[in-house]
Symmetry: C2
């Protein structure tokens, strides 16, 4: 890993034919599982999809995005209170996790784990891409993956060895993100300044024209 590892990381949507082996996957999961987790509960499970028929079955829930069938493995990260509740019940403890706050906790837990997994994969020469579609079609995905009660799909990553990285999409200036002590709301001038660079980029202008829109927003 170079000094610029975090600055230079990019999403990868196209993968070579080289498979991600079970051993590699286990190693990445083991590294990533050292990420922070609320009360050491690890409220997550990872469903690994390799079977082409299963990828095809999941594809509509992801609106047919080509990475679903084009990746080596598709990974569905689920918030999981099932395993923990079963442990509590087997251990004579009162679980008490059937509430929204617990779902939120597991939700945070699984996203922390997924992002750490993404970083670990990138540090090991692989590439991945989040599919933002998982919570839209969670019931369909849950049915296909046979998720029991208390297990909810939250994010999906396509994973493989990179053909190439995506181009730098450009990010907002850090001043747009950081607020000191209290939230400083944005004036119209602030908004113009913050988004000026993004709007001025050649790829943004192309995107606006292609889609017949007046503006990038």
């Amino acid at each position: 890993m170079t000094d610029n590892f975090f600055r230079e990381r990019r999403t990868v949507r196209q993968y070579t034919d080289r498979p991600v082996t079970d051993d590699t996957l286990r190693d990445l999961v083991e590294q990533a599982a050292n990420a922070p987790t609320t009360g050491n509960m690890q409220l997550y499970s990872l469903i690994v999809t390799r079977d082409p028929a299963m990828k095809r079955a999941l594809s509509p829930a992801h609106f047919g995005q080509p990475q679903v069938e084009g990746c080596s493995v598709l990974l569905t990260f689920c918030a999981d209170f099932n395993r923990f509740v079963k442990w509590c019940e087997a251990s004579d403890a009162e679980p008490g996790y059937d509430n929204l706050q617990s779902l939120v906790t597991a939700f945070i837990d699984v996203v922390i784990f997924a992002q750490q997994f993404c970083t670990v994969a990138e540090a090991n020469g692989l590439g991945c891409c989040y599919l933002g579609t998982t919570t839209y079609n969670a019931p369909d995905i849950a049915r296909t993956l046979k998720l029991p009660k208390r297990v909810v799909p939250v994010v999906t990553l396509s994973l493989g060895y990179p053909v190439s990285k995506c181009a730098d999409p450009g990010r907002l200036p850090v001043e747009a993100i950081i607020h000191n002590e209290t939230y400083g709301d944005y004036s119209p001038e602030d908004i113009r300044r913050i988004y000026a660079e993004k709007e001025g980029r050649a790829d943004s202008k192309g995107f606006v024209e292609e889609n017949g829109k007046k503006t990038l927003a």
Copy 2:
């Protein structure tokens, strides 16, 4: 960063007096902002708390956890659709983000960013600790930090230079987390095997006795 960087990372709850400068913080945020973000929207804001009076004001919402006042900077990561909606409105675009799905999207976005920030900080010699209390007392935190509509506090990190790392808390075996193709539910024997190592640890046994409980769960 060493080869074992991800395996050896640990939470840090105790910090030296060395301040985290604004320049350092900017640099960490800039690196972390290259993390994946849905549609390049960056639906998050970061509220930086340095003022001891502000830390004191936030402390009750975090149930008085000592890191709140004991850290160099306290960082509240917020899901933020305010900035993006203002940009849409200034750009003649229909925002249409006042719904639960958008909140979920921003929620995922901000946790990805927070976790990348945590990793970047660790890679740069700093240490941090998640406070799992943020969503419990979100309304109090929002009032103290003067968050406007469409800005929701999701996770909080205490940040500083480490006095020492926390001990390895032990994680579940990877077999407990990975499911191939479909979710393989856990039998009572699976649960016993999966949690055996955790239950057998000396620190776990001490914790059970100290708290007068029958079991760790």
